[in-house]
């Protein structure tokens, strides 16, 4: 329809605008990933110049590495617990707050703030709460007449980490609350008129209407729990960067294992192979989650301007 001689867009302008990201992607994402792949084919130890190519040996070894398998399964289990629990918890809190309440802003802020506490402060704070002799939790247990628990070592460390992660679900609550407020009341009223009870309205009207937001939280939650590394390192007994050795089995997640291979065993090649395997696993799981969205995520209109 537009005259052929005039074009609104030129390739050059577009590339000019997006060039920072393209350059950044190539230099700071693609190159490091490629470099890691190259390292994974060597026995490089991080400093010695006398490394050599060893082909797929690192991957073969990784396949038979029981510790790596355990760390991978532990990470998957952690995500399988934390992601549904925090999405559900966020939804529950949002439903609770989605009504006329006194001091609504105050309640929302109390639940929301933990989610923006920097990870370092979070770790310091929870170490104080979980402290065996002086911690808040054991003080509460003592009042109830129960025995003290050593929270930050096995077998409790895993659950302690779950608790710390769930504490931050307020970010999801805020998003869900906004989504709930965007559900047209006519829809819910219509369902009530048709004889649906409150639970069925929630289940068949409200949840489908906000499912894109729940889906968003599932995707970001999965990614976030896969990259957890700082919390286990800092919650462990020796809280210095060299303290990886003390991370208890229970919080020995996959990235902690990778970190250990790099900086404790100086096995940069092997660690890189672990990174690449993780990259592929994450890719597969993300695709799987995206696929599943067709089954349960409802998009009202796609007026995104995707022309």
């Amino acid at each position: 329809m537009a005259a052929r001689s005039w074009s609104r867009y030129s390739d050059r302008t577009f590339y000019l605008f997006v060039s920072p990201w393209v350059a950044g992607f190539l230099l700071l994402t693609a190159v490091p990933l490629g470099y890691a792949f190259a390292m994974s084919l060597t026995n490089f130890d991080g400093s010695s110049p006398r490394w050599r190519w060893i082909g797929m040996a690192n991957y073969v070894e990784l396949f038979g590495d029981a510790d790596a398998w355990a760390a991978m399964l532990r990470t998957l289990a952690f995500a399988a617990i934390v992601v549904p629990a925090s999405v559900a918890g966020a939804l529950g809190l949002a439903v609770l707050l989605n009504r006329r309440l006194k001091a609504l802003g105050l309640w929302r802020t109390i639940f929301f703030l933990p989610s923006v506490v920097p990870v370092v402060a979070m770790a310091i704070m929870w170490k104080l709460v979980f402290n065996r002799d002086s911690g808040l939790l054991n003080a509460v247990l003592a009042v109830a007449g129960l025995e003290s628990i050593t929270w930050l070592v096995d077998p409790m460390a895993f659950y302690a980490l779950v608790v710390v992660s769930l504490w931050g679900l307020g970010g999801g609550m805020v998003i869900t609350l906004a989504a709930l407020q965007g559900v047209p009341p006519e829809l819910e009223e219509a369902a009530v008129v048709d004889g649906a009870n409150r639970w069925r309205v929630f289940q068949h009207v409200t949840v489908p209407m906000i499912s894109p937001v729940l889906f968003f939280q599932v995707v970001t939650g999965v990614i976030a729990s896969f990259q957890i590394i700082v919390q286990p390192l800092l919650l462990a007994e020796t809280n210095s960067i060299s303290g990886v050795g003390q991370v208890p089995r229970g919080t020995h997640l996959y990235m902690v294992q990778v970190y250990e291979e790099f900086f404790q065993s100086n096995r940069f090649g092997y660690g890189s192979a672990m990174l690449w395997v993780f990259f592929l696993v994450i890719l597969a799981i993300t695709l799987l989650v995206q696929r599943s969205s067709r089954l349960w995520v409802y998009y009202e209109v796609d007026n995104d301007g995707r022309s």
């Binding site: 867009y9 577009f14 997006v18």
Partner: protein, 277 residues
């Protein structure tokens, strides 16, 4: 009809209060720890309240480590990164929202998929590369990361710019305005809510980051986040929990204040990027 009866208001407030205690408990415990003497902290049975507030812990937190210098490092790094990444992400977001070029759809898919890529994956090899070219113990890595734009913020700006009516763009084109000027003179001034959000988010990312400064910076160059985790020690090398609690409180107050005051912007931005995620 029984199930349409609403739960009583009182029950809801009791439930909210119980939950609020759970969420606020760790904050309260941190502040109490920061106000206890070391003996009180270690006392058995556990003492809830200090006999007398030990404000000295805060003085010690500021002087036991070079708190001011580490704060300056953190501020400097966070500001540099936030300014650069906001500028580049706005530029790129505009490109994806309003411009068309060969392969723009494929490129945007790449942006979205890098959002899904855990940054920790690239950080370790990036660290090895940076060490090889001598960027360890410099602030150049943060400059480079800033110049590279962040996929998350690109998406945020893209959503923001895409919502601006096309008529504005048409009018500017008719007036003979080029894209660069249109971006700088018309779109950017309209986008200050997104700019503020982007600046605050990226500022707090760097302020709260631990692993990158721990890997890349030494004792003199590192940030407050690394300093407060490791260096509150007595002469025998034991951690001093009360002083560390005071340090942690001082460290996180700016971030909490930022989010308290900017909650509205922050929520709106997360909601717009979340719904179409």
């Amino acid at each position: 009809m029984a199930d349409r009866r609403k739960p009583s208001a009182g029950a809801i407030y009791v439930l909210l209060l119980a939950l609020a205690v759970l969420f606020a408990g760790p904050f309260v415990w941190l502040v109490l720890a920061a106000l206890k003497s070391r003996a009180e902290w270690a006392a058995i049975p556990t003492r809830i309240l200090p006999a007398q507030a030990q404000w000295d812990n805060f003085t010690a937190a500021l002087t036991d480590i070079n708190f001011v210098a580490y704060t300056a490092n953190s501020l400097f790094l966070s500001t540099i990164y936030a300014v650069l990444v906001t500028a580049t992400s706005a530029l790129v977001g505009f490109g994806f929202a309003r411009l068309r070029g060969r392969g723009h759809r494929a490129l945007f898919v790449v942006v979205l998929s890098t959002m899904m890529l855990p940054q920790i994956l690239t950080l370790l090899p990036t660290y090895v590369l940076f060490a090889r070219i001598g960027l360890v113990n410099t602030y150049w890595p943060w400059v480079l990361w800033g110049l590279a734009a962040s996929p998350y913020l690109v998406f945020l700006f893209r959503q923001f710019f895409a919502a601006i009516p096309r008529e504005l763009e048409d009018a500017a084109i008719i007036d003979g305005c080029g894209w660069v000027r249109m971006f700088a003179r018309i779109f950017l001034p309209l986008s200050w809510p997104a700019l503020i959000t982007s600046f605050l988010l990226s500022f707090t990312w760097t302020w709260g980051d631990y692993i990158a400064p721990a890997l890349l910076l030494d004792v003199d160059h590192t940030t407050l986040s690394v300093a407060i985790t490791s260096w509150y020690r007595d002469p025998r090398g034991n951690a001093i929990p009360t002083v560390q609690a005071a340090g942690a409180a001082l460290y996180m107050v700016p971030v909490l204040l930022i989010f308290l005051f900017a909650q509205r912007y922050f929520i709106r931005s997360v909601v717009t990027s979340g719904i179409k995620g």
